[in-house]
């Protein structure tokens, strides 16, 4: 009797639950998407209308002057190129170092393995901090050099652990024994068998590291002083956060765009710049999403 009553109630409570759940998820999706969508719309709309709050959902007074200006803005493109170079070279080195370390440290036994692991894991929890690290880079004469953007973050202990757990769990030890009996050396075994079998984790690492390089500004802020070496994020910082525009680029802008005030132009440039700088990652990640998620899962398997 009691049971029956309960069951009738249950149907309703589940229906209410799902109604609320749909509302919650819809709310989250809208909150996430709308700011991004608004930036895109504002970047092609008349900035006066945007400033007056007339643009909310659809672009109004469509124009592409913002993007035209961005394409002519030299500082942006030279730094864009720098970022591409830092990202490609940096990620390449990251992946090679991390995979090699993971290979060696996932071997079943060799003398010193425990010690090396301890030495690496310790750095996850304690470090010299900003100032001694900066002074170290200075002592190594790396300040304001290309390598200051590449070497300090060459291996991430966290990613190393992800790659190592992957190799431990998915490449059986018997394979190594068989390869060694067949006369392969460790390096041959690594290059010809382990690496080809590890493509998923190579994908994860490439993406983690590449996003990191693309978005980072900390190393540049600390170690670089000459503008021609600046990555994109440093130029973005000047424009978006400090509201500083290259005077040469802005001056030529005012001559030709007399119809648009400098303030409006700045605003328009900012919206366009957000789109141009974030686009590569935003376009790429849905395709690579499965790798990212896999990475998180391998990482959580460790425990």
């Amino acid at each position: 009797m009691k049971q029956k009553k309960h069951r009738v109630k249950m149907g309703i409570s589940d229906r209410i639950y799902y109604a609320i759940a749909v509302l919650i998820v819809a709310f989250v999706v809208v909150i996430t998407i709308y700011p991004l969508y608004f930036v895109c719309v504002a970047s092609v709309s008349d900035p006066t209308l945007v400033l007056n709050g007339k643009v909310l959902f659809l672009p109004k007074g469509i124009q592409l002057q913002g993007y035209q200006r961005i394409f002519q803005y030299k500082n942006i493109w030279s730094s864009y190129l720098n970022t591409v170079i830092y990202t490609v070279v940096g990620t390449g080195l990251n992946v090679v170092m991390t995979m090699t370390a993971a290979f060696v440290l996932s071997r079943r036994r060799f003398y010193g393995k425990q010690l090396i692991m301890l030495m690496i894991v310790f750095t996850m929890y304690f470090g010299g901090g900003m100032i001694p690290t900066y002074l170290n880079i200075r002592n190594l004469h790396l300040l304001d050099s290309f390598w200051a953007m590449i070497l300090p973050g060459a291996v991430s202990a966290y990613n190393l652990i992800i790659a190592r757990s992957f190799m431990q769990s998915s490449i059986p030890h018997e394979m190594q024994e068989a390869a060694i009996i067949d006369g392969a050396s460790y390096i041959q075994f690594y290059l010809k068998i382990v690496l080809p079998l590890s493509t998923p984790v190579v994908g994860v690492l490439t993406l983690y590291y590449a996003v990191g390089h693309w978005n980072s500004y900390m190393d540049a802020l600390l170690y670089l002083s000459s503008r021609e070496k600046y990555p994109l994020q440093m130029i973005l910082r000047e424009i978006l956060i400090q509201n500083q525009f290259s005077t040469a680029d802005l001056a030529s802008m005012n001559d030709t765009e007399a119809m648009m005030s400098a303030e409006n132009m700045k605003q328009l440039l900012k919206y366009g710049l957000i789109v141009v700088s974030s686009l590569p990652m935003i376009i790429l990640y849905p395709f690579l999403q499965k790798f990212f998620v896999k990475g998180v899962m391998i990482g959580s398997l460790k425990d």
Binding site: I31, T32, G129, I131, V155, N215, Y217, I241, D303
Partner: protein, 318 residues
């Protein structure tokens, strides 16, 4: 006589093990060759700076250099502890951290639980993909967007506030607003991404438990509470420990970008203070001491929380 024999035996045993180790190491020489650059990297870029922490105990004089500067013990630390910035930066760091932790831990868990209750896996994937998007945007762009959206005169948020009958708020200039802006923009950026790990954990919850519970008449919320939540508890605990362990290392990058002269009363944290003293004013010894205080407290908290967790829940990092 017997004694001698025993010692000789011991020696020869040691000799054998040493020879065995040497033989093994020789056979494995390629492994050592491969790991050499990585070990070198960690020594040069991670352990040199740890040795460099010595500067925190020196009255560093660039003319004398690192080795010859005068050793002053804990003077730099005392200068910080007794100075006007100790209380301010410590309080700001802790408040910002705890606020951030308390607000940004439960929300992704709830979101994952709710999303996981939907049967349609394609829809679930699509929603996940959408909510990840902000995670891939750089801190600089996020702060740039905040400046545009929160502008008192033209920002879209303030338009909403004014439209609702309120008075425009200077979010980025108001010291009382800084923490909310920091924490909630962080939640906006990482809600989807942070829920991935919980969704992964939820996918390994045994579906038979749900079927059995359904037969027993449990509704969705009850099943969430008594099956899903316990299922992901170890994951939650691990992440909680990790968050606690980094309670003192609030991201320098975003705080520094959001900081300005008007909101520094709440936005000056230990990391930004270290940067200003060290990099901008070249007070190396003093700022290294400030930074070291931060890391030591961090390590201490992590160890304590890990110990507590080991006792209470049997989940721990090491």
């Amino acid at each position: 006589m017997t004694m001698r024999r025993i010692t000789r035996k011991k020696n020869s045993l040691n000799g054998v093990t040493i020879r065995k180790v040497m033989y093994q190491m020789k056979a494995d020489y390629q492994l050592y060759l491969l790991i050499l650059p990585i070990v070198a990297y960690f020594i040069i870029f991670k352990y040199f700076p740890i040795y460099g922490l010595k500067i925190a105990f020196l009255d560093y004089d660039p003319a004398l250099g690192f080795e010859k500067s005068i050793w002053v013990g804990f003077d730099n630390f005392m200068e910080f502890f007794t100075g006007p910035y100790f209380e301010l930066t410590l309080k700001n760091t802790l408040v910002l951290s705890f606020y951030s932790l308390l607000a940004s831990m439960p929300i992704p868990i709830l979101f994952a639980l709710v999303l996981n209750s939907f049967r349609d896996s394609k829809g679930r994937k699509a929603i996940q993909t959408i909510t990840y998007a902000p995670h891939f945007i750089s801190t600089i762009v996020i702060v740039g967007m905040l400046q545009l959206f929160l502008s008192p005169s033209s920002g879209i948020i303030n338009r909403l506030v004014v439209w609702g009958g309120g008075k425009a708020i200077n979010f980025l200039g108001e010291p009382s607003m800084f923490r909310h802006v920091y924490v909630w923009s962080g939640i906006w950026q990482n809600l989807g991404w942070d829920s991935v790990i919980y969704l992964a954990a939820l996918s390994s919850v045994n579906p038979e438990l749900h079927e059995a519970a359904q037969l027993d008449g449990a509704n969705r919320i009850q099943r969430m509470r008594y099956i899903d939540l316990p299922g992901i508890l170890p994951t939650i605990v691990i992440l909680l420990i990790l968050h606690f362990g980094s309670i003192m290392s609030v991201g320098f990058e975003k705080v520094y970008l959001l900081q300005n002269t008007t909101n520094s009363q709440t936005s000056e944290i230990i990391a930004t203070y270290t940067y200003k003293q060290g990099i901008q004013r070249a007070q190396y010894g003093y700022s290294a001491a400030v930074g070291m205080f931060n890391s030591v407290v961090n390590l201490f908290l992590l160890t304590v929380v890990n110990k507590i967790s080991k006792k209470v829940t049997e989940v721990s990092l090491w």
